[in-house]
C-alpha cells in the first residue's frame, strides 16, 4: 500500500480502471455504480459497507446483481452521503432495495440516508443480511450480522430485478435468501488495518477461533488449531442445527477464504463439507469456492449454506456478470 489515507480511493480507482463496467461516482467518489447507469424501469438494488472485504461489497455491482454500492473506509461503514448517492445512482424509477449487513453503523447510515432522501420520490425497502450464526443466538436472529452469505441475497434479488419484478417481489426474494442462509467462520490469523498500530485482534500461532466475525469480532471458542475435517465437521453441524436445510433437501454451499487462506485449503474443506452433506442426503447446487468476502489478509475461512427452494435455485442459476462472479 501507499499512504493509509489513500488506500480506499486508490483501490477503487484500480478496480474501476481494471473493470470499465464499473464507475466511481457520488460526491466523494465513494459509490461504485454500473457504467451504463441505472436501468430505467428496473428495480434498483444497493448495498454498502466497509472496505477491506473485496470482492464484497463493491465487487458485486454488475448485471443481475447490484446496481450501486456505497463504500466506507477499511472496516468502517459508508458515509450517509455515500448511501444517498448510491440510492440515487441505482434508481431506475421503480424503487430501490437497500440490501446490506446488519451492522449498527450501516443501519443508521442507510436509514438516515433514506430519511434525507424523502421528497425525492424514490420508493425504498430494506433487507438486512443476518447470516452469521455466531453473532447471535437463534432466538435473536434479528441481531445477527451479515457476512459472506449476503452474496446469495445479492444474486437472487439481482436476478429477480433483472426479470422485471417489482420492488415488493425483489425484496421478498432477498429476504427469503437471508432467511434461508446460515454462515459460520473460523480464523487463525488476524489482519492489519492500514494505518492502525497493531492487528485487529491477536491470536496465538497455533490457535484457531471458531465463529469469529469479519472484523475480528470474538467468536464462540478459541483452542489449539485443529485438522480441517474437525473444523468443517463442527461448522456443518452448527449450520444444519440452525438452518432450514432438511435431510434430502437441496442447498448451495459457499466455502470462502477470509483472505490469506489458499484455494488448496478451501478445496480440502469443500471435500469434507460435500461429503458431510451427502451423508445427510443433501444435494449441493451451484457451489462456490474461493475469495468472495474477505477481511484483508485474515487467515481463515467461512462456510455458508443456503437452503434453496425451486425459486431460489432458478434465480441462483440465472445469468449474472460482475468482476468476481459470472453465471
Amino acid at each position: 500500500m501507499n499512504a493509509a489515507d489513500d488506500y480506499v480511493d486508490e483501490m477503487l480507482d484500480g478496480l474501476c480502471s481494471m473493470h470499465p463496467a464499473l464507475v466511481r461516482t457520488g460526491s466523494n467518489g465513494r459509490v461504485i455504480a454500473r457504467a451504463v447507469g441505472a436501468v430505467k424501469g428496473k428495480v434498483g438494488i444497493v448495498s454498502g459497507g466497509g472496505s477491506g472485504h473485496l470482492p464484497l461489497f463493491t465487487g458485486y455491482v454488475g448485471e443481475g446483481l447490484l446496481d450501486a454500492c456505497a463504500i466506507g473506509d477499511i472496516f468502517a461503514g459508508p458515509s450517509v452521503e455515500a448511501c444517498m448517492d448510491a440510492i440515487r445512482a441505482a434508481d431506475g424509477g421503480r424503487g430501490v432495495l437497500r440490501l446490506f449487513g446488519n451492522y449498527g453503523g450501516d443501519r443508521m447510515n442507510f436509514n438516515l440516508a433514506g430519511e434525507l432522501l424523502e421528497g425525492e420520490g424514490i420508493e425504498l425497502t430494506t433487507v438486512l443480511g443476518r447470516d452469521d450464526i455466531a453473532s447471535g443466538a437463534e432466538n435473536e436472529r434479528e441481531k445477527r450480522r451479515g457476512v459472506a452469505g449476503i452474496i446469495y441475497a445479492y444474486k437472487v434479488a439481482g436476478a429477480k430485478a433483472a426479470q422485471g419484478a417489482d420492488l415488493q417481489e425483489v425484496t421478498r426474494v432477498a429476504e427469503a435468501a437471508v432467511d434461508r442462509c446460515r454462515t459460520i467462520g473460523c480464523a487463525w490469523g488476524a489482519c492489519q488495518i492500514p494505518g492502525a498500530a497493531g492487528p485487529t485482534f491477536t491470536i496465538g500461532d497455533d490457535e484457531v477461533e471458531m465463529g469469529i466475525g469479519i472484523h475480528g469480532e470474538p467468536g464462540i471458542w478459541r483452542d489449539r488449531l485443529k485438522p480441517a475435517d474437525a473444523l468443517t465437521g463442527e461448522m456443518v453441524a452448527r449450520l444444519l442445527e440452525d438452518s432450514f436445510v432438511k435431510n434430502g433437501g437441496r442447498a448451495s454451499v459457499l466455502v470462502n477464504s477470509l483472505g490469506a487462506t489458499s484455494l488448496e485449503e478451501l478445496f480440502i474443506a469443500y471435500r469434507s463439507i460435500a461429503s458431510l452433506l451427502k451423508e445427510r442426503g443433501i444435494e449441493i447446487v451451484s457451489p462456490l469456492v474461493g475469495h468472495y468476502a474477505t477481511s484483508m489478509e485474515m487467515a481463515g475461512f467461512s462456510v455458508s449454506i443456503l437452503a434453496v427452494d425451486e425459486e431460489l435455485e432458478s434465480l441462483l442459476a440465472a445469468p449474472a456478470d460482475c468482476p468476481f462472479w459470472k453465471v
Partner: protein, 204 residues
C-alpha cells in the same frame, strides 16, 4: 454575549486540533475491544468540519456541519455526531445567537435524536451518556465560563462513573464483562473534545 457562529467556529477549530492531538490515544482506546479507528475517524471528520465556512444563522451553520459530516465518515460515532448536528440545526433554525443557558437544551435534544437513531438507551455506556451529563450540567446556566468548567467536570465524572460498568452497545457490547474497567472510546473522545473546547478560557 451568548453563543454565536464565532464561538461555534472556534469550538470546531479547537476540536479539530484536539482530534489530531488525541488520535492515537483514541485509536488505542477503541482498539482494546473495537476496531481501533475512533481516533483516525474523528481526526478526519473534524478536519472536514473545520474547513466549513459557517453562516451566521446557527440553524444553517449546524446544517452545513451536518452536511460535511455526512460525507466525511460512516462510523457509528460519526453518524451519531451528524445526527446531533442535525438536531441542533432544527432547534436553532433562524437564530444567530443563543444564550449560554440555552445550550444545555440543545445538547439534550441532540441526545434524544442520537438515542432514537442508534437504538440505545442511557446507561449503555456510550458517548450519549456523556452528552446527557454535560447537557444536564449546563442546562440553564447563563455564565459561559462557569458552563465550560462544569462541562469538563461532568464529562470526566461520567468517564469515572461508567468505567467499571459493561458496554451494552456498539462493538464492545459483544465482550460483555470484559468491557468493565475499560473506557468507552466514544465517551473518552467526547471528554477530550469537551476539555479542548472548554479548557483554559482564552481571551475573548
Amino acid at each position: 454575549m451568548g453563543f454565536t457562529h464565532t464561538e461555534l467556529n472556534a469550538a470546531v477549530h479547537r476540536a479539530a486540533v484536539a482530534a489530531a492531538q488525541f488520535e492515537s490515544e483514541l485509536n488505542a482506546a477503541d482498539g482494546k475491544l473495537g476496531d481501533g479507528d475512533t481516533g483516525i475517524m474523528l481526526r478526519r471528520l473534524f478536519e472536514r468540519l473545520d474547513a466549513v465556512s459557517l453562516p451566521h444563522d446557527l440553524g444553517d451553520a449546524f446544517k452545513s456541519l451536518a452536511t460535511a459530516a455526512a460525507g466525511a465518515t460512516g462510523s457509528s460515532l460519526g453518524t451519531l455526531l451528524m445526527t446531533a448536528l442535525l438536531a441542533a440545526s432544527h432547534r436553532l433554525k433562524g437564530r444567530s445567537e443563543v444564550p449560554w443557558g440555552g445550550l444545555g437544551a440543545v445538547m439534550l435534544a441532540a441526545r434524544d435524536a442520537m438515542l432514537s437513531r442508534g437504538g440505545g438507551a442511557l446507561g449503555d455506556k456510550t458517548v450519549i451518556d456523556s452528552i446527557d451529563a454535560v447537557g444536564r450540567a449546563i442546562d440553564g446556566l447563563d455564565d459561559g465560563a462557569e458552563a465550560k468548567v462544569r462541562s469538563q467536570k461532568a464529562a470526566n465524572q461520567m468517564l469515572v462513573e461508567f468505567r467499571d460498568r459493561p458496554c451494552r452497545l456498539g462493538r464492545a457490547r459483544m465482550f460483555g464483562d470484559r468491557s468493565k474497567g475499560i473506557d468507552d472510546p466514544g465517551m473518552l473522545a467526547f471528554t477530550r473534545l469537551v476539555e479542548a473546547v472548554c479548557g483554559e478560557v482564552t481571551s475573548r
